[in-house]
């Protein structure tokens, strides 16, 4: 096909594109993935039976504050990397703020508890499964993002994969809070972060393969 014919063929299909098409597409992907992730939380893991009580306690909002702030930064970075001219991403260092804040809260909580309880605070009741569940719950959201990326144009595939994984991990963890009964900051800092980090790492590994266009 010569170039003129190609241009003729392409220009037959010129649908108007809304201004926030990239954001909308990412939101649909994340939203659909989140609904898919909610299914096993409600049907297999079960919501935290004391959820109504838990949301009155600061620890629930501490967990959500942590995962939502990481998730929001990750979404913004993903939206940037979904465009070919992604620009600078140095501001992503802002994400150390929630991590450090949680560390400070964790140290404060430990300072108020006797040292004999420290191990129990750190491991909670569910340290063996927490990170894996966060990682597994991130998968449907990552899948949704892969769908979003099908019509987007990332040029830094590894970075885009990593931020997509981070987004999926952080929002998967946000949903996991609906099940998770743990209350200590040091627990969240360790096991949630590990799960979210694994999701980001997996995204960075598969990004160059799956996001190619």
């Amino acid at each position: 096909m010569n170039t003129d014919e190609l241009i003729q063929a392409l220009a037959k299909d010129v649908k108007p594109v809304p201004r926030h098409a990239v954001g909308r597409r990412l939101a649909i992907g994340i939203g659909a993935g989140a609904i898919l992730a909610l299914v096993p939380i409600v049907w297999l893991l079960g919501l935290n039976p004391q959820l109504a009580l838990a949301i009155q306690h600061y620890s629930f909002w501490m967990k959500w504050g942590y995962t939502v702030s990481l998730g929001s930064c990750a979404v913004v970075a993903t939206a940037r990397l979904a465009r070919p001219d992604s620009g600078k991403l140095g501001w992503m260092w802002l994400m150390v703020i929630p991590v450090l804040s949680l560390a400070v809260i964790g140290l404060f909580e430990m300072s108020r508890a006797p040292p004999t309880q420290w191990l129990a605070m750190w491991l909670g009741h569910s340290w063996t499964v927490c990170s894996s569940l966060v990682f597994l719950l991130s998968m449907p959201i990552f899948g949704g993002l892969l769908w979003s990326f099908r019509h987007l144009a990332p040029t830094r595939l590894r970075a885009a994969g990593a931020t997509a994984g981070l987004t999926a991990g952080a929002w998967g963890a946000t949903l996991y809070c609906l099940h998770c009964p743990e209350v200590s900051a040091i627990f969240v800092l360790t096991w949630y972060t590990l799960g979210i980090g694994l999701a980001a790492l997996a995204g960075a590994l598969v990004g160059p393969r799956l996001l190619r266009w």
Partner: protein
């Protein structure tokens, strides 16, 4: 004749708003831009470059939703062109270093240079034709004095004097403008 940033961006935005004519004009105008871009960076044959140009046009069209109307068109376009070139090399199993996007924008002279060229053209047009011709030949096109003299059928000293007087007049005009 290459279209400049503002014209291409206007067509791009027209295309995003659903204007078929704008989109056609944009894609047509991009063909020489992309050909020049790839030819300058690749030693591959004509066919490879044609393929890349077509692939890039398809990407520009099908992924146009990723263009941010508040950002420069050149940056978006060359990021796609660069990505397609890297992908082409990778498929061929070759590695090669390719400049970063910032360097590409400078090399393609897309924004600053096109603005600067307009400014220079505007200033030169205000000079007498003999002087502007002499300056264009010796200072912009890089001819030496005797080549410029031969082309304009003038004496060498005449060229030198014209350049000298022209530059002096330009300098005065620029100072006056400030």
């Amino acid at each position: 004749m290459r279209a400049d940033e503002s014209q291409l961006k206007a067509w791009m935005i027209g295309g995003l708003d659903g204007d078929t004519a704008c989109q056609t004009q944009l894609l047509r105008a991009l063909v020489p831009v992309l050909e020049a871009f790839y030819r300058r960076r690749m030693r591959d044959g004509r066919d490879d470059i044609d393929d890349l140009v077509q692939e890039t046009l398809i990407a520009v069209h099908t992924r146009r939703a990723t263009f941010d109307r508040d950002r420069p068109f050149g940056g978006w376009l060359f990021a796609i062109a660069r990505y397609k070139m890297v992908d082409h090399f990778r498929r061929g199993g070759r590695t090669c270093t390719i400049e970063g996007l910032d360097d590409i924008l400078v090399a393609e002279g897309f924004e600053d240079a096109s603005n600067a060229r307009l400014d220079v053209d505007r200033l030169l047009d205000e000079l007498p034709p003999k002087q502007s011709q002499a300056i264009r030949a010796t200072r912009l096109e890089g001819l030496n004095t005797s080549e410029a003299a031969a082309r304009a059928k003038m004496g060498e000293s005449d060229v030198k004097v014209s350049v000298h007087r022209g530059l002096k007049a330009l300098a005065a005009r620029i100072r006056g403008e400030i």
